[in-house]
Structure formats: structure tokens, C-alpha cells
């Protein structure tokens, strides 16, 4: 009995010794995987039909819990925003009566301050009852109302503020130049949450307390598959591929749309302007970025460090000198 116990303890020590090199390898810094061409999304809102397949596919593949049902009361969008467990989010922007009938725009501006004298029900022959047809449109019953649908996602910025803010090194750029949160390292400090200018990354307060966001399906990329949302998208509104190629496609698509008279179409994040390096997940929008709650030209938070520090140092020096003056002052 005693002998056996002794043998057991010896074997457990031997096991520990055997594990030692394995434990030491944890300290060893692994060589990163070789660089791959940058991958990203091109989300073309002009093709989006608002089916939300991307939202569901993302939740399914990444095993994210369903959001607590909440009735927004504003549109078909009850998800409302991206979050720790919502990495794709379809916006429904309802633009009803957005155009002033041609010719009456001026008078409407002038009379807007006075009380309206129009009754709710007007005779059908009234000129204002039916909007005048904008020039160049063939349809007789042209309707200016529109629904803009937009599948929002992490922008995978080339200079990602969340990555720059992260104090643990949990947030990295992967070999595909996507922005990825290493869950084993993140300790939920919350600095990335306020650093992100798009309000994307969030801390999972109800869950593990760590920061979560779109991974661009890193696990699928490793196996040579498309991200789940791009795979599920039935209209190719979400396109996945190499960023360089996607940007070329986006320019072509923009040219085609403008050729067909959609003059309001524009690309968001496809050039290098936003955050001084552009976005690897960029968009084709049909209105100003603000309509989609996207910041037109956000500042890069890490650029604030130097000027703010300078002001801090000047103030500290001034106060220190004043204190030195008063302490050394012999009356």
C-alpha cells in the first residue's frame, strides 16, 4: 500500500517533469502565420433587401445568443444596434415624403414659419396632392418614398482605434489584415468600447464580460470558406474577397449606378481617407453617411494622445514652478 503510494507520487513527479517543456513553450513567442492578402467586405446597400439572413447566419455560425426581444416601434429594425452578441445588423431607413414636389420647394420654405392653411383632405385636382414627376423619370406614378436597407458590420479599419487602444494586446490585425479580439487575452477593460468611432465593439456584460465583435469569420477563413453572412446573402449585397479587388468592384458598381441616374450613390471607406487608412469593410451608400448613423470623417483617437499630453505637461510644469516659487519664497 505504502509502496504503491510512493510509486504514484514518483510517477506524478515524473509526469510533471515531462510537462515542463510544454509549459515552457507557453513563454515562447510563436512566429506569426505568413501574411496573406487583405480580406474584407464590400456591403452594397443598393442591393440589400433587408431579409436579415446575414444577421441570422452570423448568429448561427458564431453561436451567439438571440437578443432579448425588444419592440423598437420605429421600423422593422428591432435589433437597433450592433453589440457584443450581434455582429451583423440590418438597418431599415424609411424615407417617406423626402422630396418636395418640383417647383414648390421655394414657397414651402417661406411659408414654413406660418400656420398651414391646408386641410387634411384635398380635392384630387389640387396640384399639390400628387408630387410632380421629377424630370427624367419615365414612370407616370413615380414614388419618391424609399426604404434604405443597410447591413452594418465591423469596419475592420486599416488603423483600428480599438486595436490601438487595447492595453493587453488582445486585439490584433490577423494575417488577413482583419481586426480580431483574442478572447483568451481580453480582460474586459472596456477601452476599445469608447475608442471605436463606429460604436461597433461592445463588452458582453451579461456574459463573460469581455469585448466582442465581428471576427470576419476567422475560423471559416482558415478553412478557405466565406464568412457566414456573405455566404447567406441572397442578393450579393454582402460581397467578400480581397480588399483590392473589392475596391475595384465597388468603383465599377458606383459607376454603373451613376450611369443609371442614381446620382446620390457614394462609397464609404473605400478610399484611404477615413481613419487615415480606409476601411477593409466598406459600403456603398445611397445617402449621406449620417443617415446610416455613420460618422462622416471620424478623428483617430490615438492622434489625441500627443496634443493632450503636451497640454498636461505644460500645466504641470506651470503649477510645479508656482509651487517652487512659493515654497522657496523667504518673506
Amino acid at each position: 500500500m505504502l509502496e504503491q503510494r510512493g510509486r504514484e507520487s514518483v510517477s506524478s513527479i515524473a509526469q510533471g517533469v515531462k510537462q515542463l517543456p510544454q509549459l515552457l513553450t507557453l513563454l515562447h513567442k510563436e512566429t506569426p502565420p505568413p501574411e496573406e492578402p487583405a480580406l474584407g467586405f464590400f456591403t452594397d446597400t443598393s442591393l440589400c433587401i433587408g431579409c436579415k439572413a446575414c444577421e441570422i447566419a452570423c448568429k448561427q455560425w458564431n453561436q451567439l445568443p438571440a437578443a432579448t426581444p425588444d419592440w423598437s416601434g420605429t421600423s422593422y429594425d428591432n435589433t437597433q444596434h450592433l453589440g457584443a452578441t450581434t455582429w451583423r445588423h440590418v438597418q431599415f431607413i424609411e424615407q417617406i415624403e423626402r422630396r418636395i414636389p418640383a417647383g414648390t420647394g421655394q414657397s414651402a420654405q417661406q411659408t414654413s414659419s406660418t400656420l398651414p392653411k391646408l386641410s387634411l383632405f384635398q380635392p384630387m385636382d389640387s396640384a399639390e396632392a400628387i408630387p410632380a414627376t421629377p424630370p427624367g423619370t419615365a414612370l407616370p406614378f413615380f414614388n419618391s418614398d424609399r426604404w434604405l436597407m443597410h447591413s452594418d458590420v465591423c469596419k475592420h479599419c486599416a488603423n483600428a482605434p480599438c486595436q490601438e487602444a487595447c492595453p493587453t494586446g488582445a486585439i490584433i490585425h490577423t494575417e488577413y489584415d482583419t481586426v480580431y479580439v483574442q478572447q483568451d487575452i481580453c480582460n474586459g477593460c472596456g477601452y476599445c468600447v469608447v475608442a471605436c468611432p463606429f460604436g461597433v465593439i461592445a463588452r458582453d456584460t451579461g456574459g463573460d464580460g469581455q469585448a466582442h465583435k465581428c471576427t470576419l469569420c476567422y475560423d471559416r477563413l482558415k478553412d478557405g470558406m466565406k464568412p457566414a453572412c456573405a455566404k447567406a446573402c441572397p442578393t450579393e449585397s454582402i460581397q467578400f474577397g480581397e480588399v483590392q479587388e473589392l475596391k475595384k468592384n465597388a468603383q465599377e458598381r458606383l459607376g454603373l449606378l451613376q450611369e443609371h441616374g442614381v446620382s446620390e450613390a457614394s462609397l464609404y471607406g473605400a478610399d484611404d481617407k477615413i481613419l487615415e487608412g480606409g476601411l477593409h469593410s466598406f459600403f456603398l451608400l445611397l445617402d449621406e453617411p449620417e443617415v446610416y448613423n455613420l460618422p462622416a470623417n471620424p478623428a483617430r483617437p490615438s492622434n489625441h494622445v500627443l496634443p493632450t499630453s503636451l497640454g498636461t505637461i505644460i500645466t504641470a510644469l506651470l503649477m510645479g514652478l508656482m509651487s517652487i516659487f512659493f515654497f522657496s519664497n523667504k518673506e
Binding site: N187, N293, T312, M322
Partner: protein
């Protein structure tokens, strides 16, 4: 085609819309501005215009940014960290440049610095989403991230602060008379305190830089938050030291020096605060406005009024009131105690209102989007 397009909210041609529009308050219909509202308009240089702001586009007013996850732990950390750094700097200046009777400032300052520092690491760790993983903060050294630099700065300063306080304790005979205490007392405290002070200044100011290096409009727009926080750190720690000295009793001359330092510090803080509000402009509404969620009432009463302007005026009055100074006399209590307590309260409420204004600011989609339209 484009020029005929107007925003959703301003489409005023249809009767239904017109009726709705007239329910909105126009600038002329607004109630008479209150005192706080007038102050807010003066200091920020921005007159709120609800009619125009409603015409700005956003997505159903859903927040364009995520709300900060920081609350009371961080507020207390900012306050205590500022005190720890400021007390250390003031103690060092007193020991290097002060007269013989000013040594009590150094002694009290070094102890106060360590005591204020002690709750900081637990507060920071408690604030994490995964407190048990706090050691991951020490994986990297990242100059670009103020939080990473803050971790290393706090760690370094803790060592300096602890060592300086232990030397002080050994010299004051608090550690007994064994050989270890004698050895400690002989260590060069002043030579340690100079590099220590650099880290002390860092600790009292970096918290403002940390908030400024975010996307939250009220924190980041002015790039002035670091200067504001460091000036508040200095004035609150001068107040803390003079508060303690007035309780335990100290030479009148030393107290008089501290009073004048406090007066200058408050003045610099006031200038920084006004510059911060003016440059932040519209984004400062979250801090100074009197709207439903805005922090104006607390800010103006607890921070600006009773925490800065009132103690500064009291201090001015005390300094002008000539008192017969007998150099050997010790003094306790007095009106100066109240001034110091008010300054400390103001310093706490500055951190509280600024952090909470960040929450309000992040929820205001229109101001966030306006801030990003450069």
C-alpha cells in the same frame, strides 16, 4: 434632382407634417433661460437650437457610439490617483525647496500619497469585465495606448511612492530602532523623489489623456482634458495636505505658503476648465447643459460653484485679510479648512460629472455625428 431633396424631418409641404412641426419649440417660444442655462451658453459659446438640431440626420436617434462601461470605480480611481500623484509632487517640492518648518508638508504628503494610492489597484481590477485576468495588462508595453502606459506608470509610481513613504516612516521612527529601519532611514529620499515625481505627474495627468484618446465627443473634442485633470489633481492634493495640516496643527508660515499655492492652483484649474468648455463647444452640453440627462445642475453647483469658484473667492479674501503672523506659532482649523474641504469635493465632482457626461455624450447621436464631421 439632388437639390430638391430635403431631410426627412424638414419636409414641410404636407399638412400632416406641418401640424407636427408647429408643436416643436422654436427659438422664440423657448422658456426664459435659467441662470445655469445662461452660464452654459456663455462658457461653451454654443446656443442650443432644437429646431436646427432636429433637422440633422441620424438613424432614429439611436446612439452612434457605444456607452462607456466605466462607472463609480473609475471615478474614484481618477480622484484618488490624482491625489496620490499631486501629494507626492508637492511633498517633493516642499522637501527640496522648502524651509525647515516646511518638512511637515513632505512628511504628510508622502504618507497621504501612499494612502491615496492603496485603493487604486483594487478599484481598477474590480472595474474589469474579467478581474481575474488583470495580469494580462502587463503583456504589452504600448506607447499608443494611454491605458497600457497608465498601467506601467501606476506600477512604477507605486514602487516610488511605497519606498519614499517607508523611508519617511523609518526617519520618523515609526518602524522601530532595529538595523533595517536605520538602513532605510539612511537611503537617499530626495534622490528617489525626483524621478518619482515625474511618474507622479504622469499618474495625475494621464487619466485625462486616456479619456481624450477616445471617440466620445465631450471627452475628446478639446484635447484639454489632461490639462484639466492634472490641474485638478494638484489643487485637490494641496487642499488635502493643508486640510490634514490644519487638523494636526502646523506652522502658520507653512500654512500660508500652502494657501497661496492653493489659490494659484485653483486659478489655473479655472482657466483650464473655461478653455476646455469653450473649445469643446456644443459637445460640452452633456456636461454643462440642463437637459433631461445632461449633467449641468450637478456640475455647476457641486463642481464649478461650491468646488472651485467659492473656495477660490474665500481664499482670495483670506489672503487679502492681513493677519498678524507670529513665525513660531502653530495653527489648527480655521476657515482654510472649509476651503480645503470644498476643493476636495469639487475635485471629486469634476471626475464624476466628466465621466458621467461621457455616458450622456455617447447616447447623443446627433452631437456624435456632428463631432465627426470635420
Amino acid at each position: 434632382m439632388d437639390n430638391t431633396r430635403v431631410s426627412e424631418t424638414s419636409s414641410s409641404t404636407l399638412p400632416v407634417n406641418k401640424e407636427r412641426e408647429n408643436k416643436w419649440p422654436t427659438s422664440s417660444q423657448l422658456p426664459q433661460p435659467t441662470l445655469l442655462e445662461t452660464l452654459a451658453v456663455w462658457t461653451t459659446g454654443y446656443r442650443p437650437d432644437p429646431v436646427r438640431e432636429l433637422q440633422e440626420k441620424s438613424y432614429y436617434d439611436y446612439p452612434a457610439l457605444k456607452a462607456p462601461v466605466w462607472s463609480w470605480e473609475i471615478i474614484w480611481y481618477f480622484f484618488m490617483g490624482g491625489l496620490a500623484g499631486g501629494c507626492y509632487v508637492l511633498a517633493t517640492i516642499a522637501s527640496l525647496f522648502g524651509a525647515k518648518e516646511d518638512r511637515i508638508v513632505a512628511r504628510v504628503g508622502y504618507y497621504a500619497s501612499l494612502l491615496a494610492l492603496l485603493p487604486c489597484p483594487p478599484l481598477l481590477i474590480k472595474d474589469l469585465g474579467q478581474p481575474k485576468k488583470f495580469l494580462n495588462m502587463m503583456r504589452v508595453f504600448k506607447v499608443k495606448s494611454p491605458m497600457s502606459m497608465g498601467v506601467w506608470g501606476l506600477l512604477t509610481f507605486s514602487m516610488f511612492s511605497a519606498l519614499t513613504a517607508v523611508i519617511q516612516a523609518a526617519r520618523d521612527g515609526l518602524l522601530g530602532k532595529w538595523w533595517g529601519a536605520k538602513l532605510l532611514a539612511r537611503l537617499p529620499q530626495r534622490a528617489l523623489a525626483v524621478p518619482g515625481s515625474i511618474f507622479a505627474i504622469f499618474l495625475s495627468g494621464y487619466t485625462g489623456v486616456l479619456l481624450a484618446a477616445t471617440s466620445i465627443a465631450v471627452w475628446s473634442r478639446s484635447r484639454m482634458l489632461g490639462a484639466l485633470f492634472v490641474s485638478s489633481a494638484f489643487s485637490t492634493s494641496t487642499a488635502l495636505i493643508s486640510c490634514i495640516l490644519r487638523i494636526v496643527g502646523a506652522p502658520v508660515k507653512t500654512l500660508h505658503k500652502l494657501e497661496r499655492i492653493e489659490w494659484v492652483n485653483m486659478l489655473i484649474e479655472l482657466v483650464n476648465l473655461l478653455a476646455f468648455l469653450r473649445i469643446t463647444g456644443r459637445a460640452a452640453r452633456a456636461l454643462v447643459g440642463t437637459g433631461p440627462r445632461e449633467k449641468g445642475p450637478t456640475f455647476w453647483s457641486m463642481m464649478f460653484g461650491s468646488g472651485l469658484v467659492l473656495p477660490w473667492l474665500l481664499q482670495t479674501w483670506l489672503l487679502f485679510k492681513k493677519q498678524p503672523v507670529s513665525p513660531r506659532k502653530k495653527k489648527r482649523g480655521g476657515l482654510g479648512l472649509i476651503v480645503s474641504l470644498l476643493v476636495l469635493l469639487g475635485g471629486y465632482f469634476l471626475r464624476k460629472t466628466v465621466v458621467e457626461a461621457g455616458h450622456v455624450s455617447s447616447a447623443d447621436a446627433r452631437t456624435s455625428l456632428w463631432n465627426a464631421r470635420r
